[in-house]
């Protein structure tokens, strides 16, 4: 047995699957979990992954790769039906089979071992420490990725100079995880900070939130409206409510894009165009001409609420108001925030205000606030009048 194979068995490549259909993802996950040769293991998050696997033939993956969303280096594995001239990454030919995936694992491992150590000296030193401890951790999710257990990688920074996932030390993983949570839930806030209904720092005028515009189109538009386009100065968003689809011109995996799209807008900055059946062909033509990033409308509404409100409460909302979830949101298809399941369980079970939920779950106020905002946006949160005031 050669050294590469030995190493592969001892330290399986921890992979994260992204930019591929749910069906392909499920097939590969199934292969990995049933794979006796032990070349691969599923990483709990991108932060714990050695390799990112993408499907070149899936929707807009090729365009995203071209746009530099993934670095074509040793930490990237590309599934493709056609030969690709990307020698620095590992290309796996379709149709996929066991032998091809095993061979790809060996190639990737060899490439990873050949990466120029000097380019990221500090990270690689720390990686050596990780590797000594990691075998014990392979069956235990990283504590610092705990709230995102098994959630596909979603967010990455826009800094191309950052090393790939395999070079990230534990400290960097923690930093990136915290950055992601900050983007989804905003900075830490106390309940006291959030108490004043019009505090401009901790409250936001709902009219300035793009999530409100999006939700109004997805959930409340006239059934005759088959498509809508939200035109922003540097981006546009197409919504097809009857097909439950949203197409965005920018990737939301970049922090700068998220901040650009979901900042506080004045109503005059946003233009909304609505199309009835007669205009749908024009919309589809536009979508076909330019690559877009697609989402389910429901999950996009949830995500847009997280990004737009950033842990702030809507102006005028009484923090003592009791709330209750009408039913569980479909959280297998929504972006998870810390303590998401526990907060949902608590708010499904009883009518409670924010303080009670924070105390019951033991989470930060911003975690409960973010879930409240997202649930309110997708119409599953009922707010009761506070009669004590």
């Amino acid at each position: 047995m050669n050294a590469v194979v030995e190493e592969a068995i001892q330290f399986p490549l921890k992979v994260v699957l992204t930019a591929m259909s749910e069906r392909r993802r499920a097939l590969i996950e199934y292969y990995i979990s049933h794979n006796k040769d032990g070349f691969y293991a599923l990483a709990e998050s991108e932060y714990a992954a050695d390799i990112v696997i993408i499907d070149h033939d899936h929707e807009d993956t090729a365009a995203r790769l071209e746009a530099g969303e993934w670095r074509p280096d040793a930490a990237l594995m590309i599934l493709s039906a056609r030969p690709l001239d990307i020698y620095s990454a590992t290309v796996v030919a379709k149709p996929l089979d066991k032998a091809g995936l095993a061979e790809a694992a060996k190639k990737a491992l060899t490439k990873l071992n050949q990466v120029d150590v000097d380019s990221d000296t500090e990270d690689y030193r720390e990686m050596t420490i990780d590797a000594q401890i990691l075998p014990k951790l392979t069956q235990r999710p990283d504590k610092f990725a705990l709230e995102q257990t098994s959630t596909p990688a979603y967010f990455r920074t826009n800094d191309a100079a950052l090393p790939g996932p395999q070079t990230l030390s534990t400290m960097k993983k923690i930093e990136r995880y915290r950055a992601k949570i900050d983007l989804l839930c905003g900075p830490s806030r106390s309940l006291e900070d959030l108490r004043h209904p019009d505090d401009p720092e901790h409250r936001v005028d709902p009219a300035k939130c793009l999530s409100r515009t999006i939700a109004a189109i997805v959930y409340n538009s006239d059934p005759k409206i088959k498509a809508a386009r939200i035109a922003l100065p540097d981006a546009d968003i197409f919504i097809l409510p009857t097909l439950n689809k949203v197409y965005c011109s920018l990737s939301l995996e970049y922090k700068t894009n998220v901040q650009q799209i979901f900042k506080d807008w004045e109503e005059s900055d946003i233009e909304v165009f609505q199309y009835q059946q007669a205009g749908v062909n024009e919309v589809i033509d536009t979508l076909n001409r330019t690559p877009r990033f697609s989402f389910s409308a429901h999950s996009f509404c949830w995500l847009s609420a997280l990004f737009s409100l950033q842990g702030r409460l809507p102006q005028g909302f009484d923090i003592e108001s009791a709330c209750k979830l009408r039913h569980w949101p479909n959280i297998t298809r929504l972006e998870l925030t810390p303590y998401c399941l526990e907060i949902v369980a608590a708010w499904s079970d009883r009518s409670a205000n924010l303080r009670q939920i924070v105390e019951l779950v033991g989470c930060e106020p911003r975690h409960a606030v973010s879930l409240f905002n997202a649930a309110l946006t997708i119409n599953v949160m009922a707010v009761e009048e506070n009669h004590d005031r």
């Binding site: 749910e22 993802r25 499920a26 097939l27 996950e29 199934y30 990995i32 979990s33 049933h34 293991a41 599923l42 720390e126 420490i129 990780d130 401890i133 014990k136 951790l137 392979t138 069956q139 235990r140 999710p141 990283d142 504590k143 610092f144 705990l146 709230e147 257990t149 098994s150 959630t151 596909p152 030390s169 534990t170 400290m171 923690i174 439950n244 389910s296 429901h298 999950s299 039913h327 569980w328 949101p329 479909n330 959280i331 297998t332 298809r333 998870l336 399941l341 526990e342 949902v344 369980a345 608590a346 499904s348 079970d349 019951l360 779950v361 033991g362 997708i378």
Partner: protein
Amino acid sequence: MTDRDIVAETMEARETQICKVLVAGPVGVGKTTAVSVASDTPILSTEVHPSDDTQLQKESTTVAMDFNTVWLDDGLKVHLYGTPGQKRFDFMWGVLAKGTAGVVLLADNNSDNVFLDIQAYLDAFEPMIHKRQLVVGVTRMENDSDQALQPYRDYFAQRNMHVPVLEADPRSRHDVIILIRASLAADQLGRTA
């Protein structure tokens, strides 16, 4: 603090708790797949070639149980049991249900009898429903639409039952882990409170 310190501290902080979670559902819904995909550890299975009509559906079927172990965050260890789907092995449901902290009921959205299937399991796992320990994962959903889950929500609402209903693909570890965690969430809250 070095990486080694952080990892050591993390591991020390983990107090291992063990929970038992059951995966139930009709024949062919994906129970064995779900139990298998939830962890990298090999599944312990009692799959045999079926001797009845089940052979028309698939080549092997579970006759006693499937078993796997899954580590969740904060050191929570889950013993995951898959029940046999065939009615004639339903005596195993009660046996396996003892000491269960959560039940994941998989429902096949393509089945004509999906609500009859659900009803059969609701009768068997009624105590878990009252303790908020049952979650329903609806499989084979063709369009990724929240509205497609509404008939299931209505079904439980009409029976005054508080049951989480989530879309699920039993081949996806992400989905299976969320179903497991959802079934345990109420129990975990009880421990926190």
